[in-house]
Amino acid sequence: VNSKSRRVLLVDDDEILRFLAQKQFKMMQLDLDTAASGPQGLTAYKERNYDLVFMDLSMPGMSGLETISRIREYELKTQRKRTPIVVTTAFDESQNSILAGADDFLLKPVLFETLQATTKKFLDIPLT
């Protein structure tokens, strides 16, 4: 599997955490796009095919849960392949996240090893 061909999207309103995510995915040798809000994330999602999405929940304007619902609606409407979405947030909202259509939930702070393991799991990359 060529990990270079995989593309990940991360939606988070915190600038430092977007910066950090760029570094972390670079270490994993994966391409990452970031978006600073729900609407930005939704636009990015519609423009490109992503293999995995990381989504923050507490954001001004459109919340992460709402963004997830919109993505799921869009997938149904366009019959696009279901993209795995992993929620990363500072509140334990695993229940709500799964209900809204997320596939996994990570509580911040997410350690690099956890991020890597979760990413590999959803991208079907063997853990080495």
Partner: protein, 429 residues
């Protein structure tokens, strides 16, 4: 109309009095054991009617209007009256007369009674003889207890004492129940208060935990990166982000400490002489980068007098309030400017410093405005924590302004922006 032979003449004086005493003892025991009031009333009226061999007995409860009594319990009366009937307490009624006289009232023959005009209830039931006693309350009578018969009947002194004793047992039971109700009410009230305090504490912990996790994610993640990539080319930028994440953690910690000090009443005022203009430019300078990044300009303006003069107050606390207000103004603005205006206000021979921070941001919805200064409510009025911050800034600012002899307030319009202002009393120079 036949005359009823007094039961004591048949049963014997002593055994009959023993029966009365026995009933008083039994009812007293029931009352002490907490028998439900309705049940106790029923037992009392049934027992009294049985012992006196009277057809009717009743408990009337005086209503708050003082003009009516309610038939709480009774035996012998036509169906559909007990628990339903409301009777006037006018002076023409036996109950009203008893309430006014405050003594047991004996009626030998209601048909020839002159003190009052027998009420319809008794007349309709063909009552001739009867006795009424007061059931005492804490302040004034609670109600009246009455026993009645359709035959001529002579109540003795002993009978009066017995009947009044029964009424007193009921009075004690009623008082006790009222005391219990009051206690239950207080316990419920206290429980609710404790529950609220506990909910607030839980919310507090949740909020702080949430607010700490975001900068903590930055600190841990960036440090991990430094360990794994010690030769990366952007170390300077990583280190800068580490510093700002750590500062955010520190500011949450400081808010927590300030808040808890204020809650404990341990926040003291330190008055010094300082230049307001210097203080404001120092605080504004701290927000320079953040404001520029959002394309906002921070403008300052002063009353002419304030341009050069020094003032006496708590500089640190004023700086902290101002920091909170400017931080909010920037957080909730997308564009435009943030205006910091300082002026002197004279009121009742006292001089106040007023600083206002105006923004052209999202403003605050009307229904969210009243909770703004409560802990954990964000300046957009929500509790959803979509914007970072401890959620304590405005709450702390309000308490500081009050501590410095002033006030805090705001004007806002949803979609157009907000203007937050605070005043502090200036010490005489």
């Amino acid at each position: 109309m036949s005359e009823l032979t007094h039961p004591s003449l048949i049963q014997g004086e002593f055994p009959y009095r023993l029966r009365q005493h026995g009933f008083v003892a039994e009812l007293g025991k029931d009352a002490l054991q907490g028998m439900e009031l309705g049940q106790l009333f029923d037992k009392a009226v049934a027992g009294v009617a049985d012992i006196f061999e009277n057809e009717y007995c009743k408990v009337l409860e005086l209503q708050p209007d003082g003009k009516h009594v309610f038939l709480r319990a009774g035996v012998g009366w036509q169906p559909g009256l007990v628990g339903i009937a409301m009777v006037d307490t006018g002076m023409d009624s036996q109950a009203g007369f008893t309430l006014a006289s405050e003594h047991p009232v004996i009626v030998k023959d209601l048909r020839t009674e002159k003190r009052f005009n027998g009420p319809a209830l008794l007349r309709e039931h063909g009552v001739v003889s009867g006795m009424s006693v007061i059931i005492h309350g804490l302040s004034g009578p609670w109600g009246v207890m009455g026993t009645h018969t359709t035959r001529i009947y002579e109540f003795t002194e002993y009978d009066i004492t017995f009947f009044q004793t029964i009424a007193n047992v009921l009075a004690s039971a009623i008082q006790r129940r009222k005391g219990e109700e009051e206690l239950e009410r207080r316990v419920a009230e206290r429980t609710k208060e404790l529950q609220l305090a506990n909910d607030l504490k839980t919310q507090f912990v949740n909020t702080i935990s949430h607010e700490v996790r975001t900068p903590m994610a930055g600190v841990i993640g960036l440090a991990e990166y430094l360990v794994k990539e010690p030769h990366a080319e952007d170390l300077q930028e990583v280190a800068q982000h580490l510093v700002s994440s750590s500062k955010r953690l520190l500011s949450i910690l400081n808010d927590l400490l300030d808040f808890s000090r204020l809650e404990a009443g341990k926040s003291s005022v330190e008055v010094i002489e300082f230049s307001l203009k210097t203080l404001i430019s120092d605080v504004v300078y701290l927000f320079k980068t953040e404001a520029e990044r959002k394309g906002l300009e921070i403008k300052t303006s002063y009353d002419v007098a304030l341009e050069s003069m020094t003032v006496r107050s708590d500089e640190k606390k004023i700086a902290q309030i101002l920091t909170n207000l400017i931080s909010n103004a920037i957080k909730f603005s997308q564009d435009g400017s943030v205006e910091v205006d300082s002026s002197l206000v004279k009121l009742h021979d006292k001089t106040f410093l007023q600083i206002a921070v105006k923004d052209y941001g999202i403003g605050i919805a009307a229904d969210s405005q009243q909770h703004l200064f409560k802990p954990f409510v964000q300046a957009d009025g929500s509790m959803s924590r979509r914007y970072g911050g401890s959620g304590l800034g405005l709450s702390i600012s309000q308490k500081y302004a009050e501590l410095l002899g002033g006030q805090i307030g705001f004007e806002t319009k949803e979609g157009s922006g907000s203007r937050f202002w605070f005043t502090v009393l200036l010490e005489d120079m």
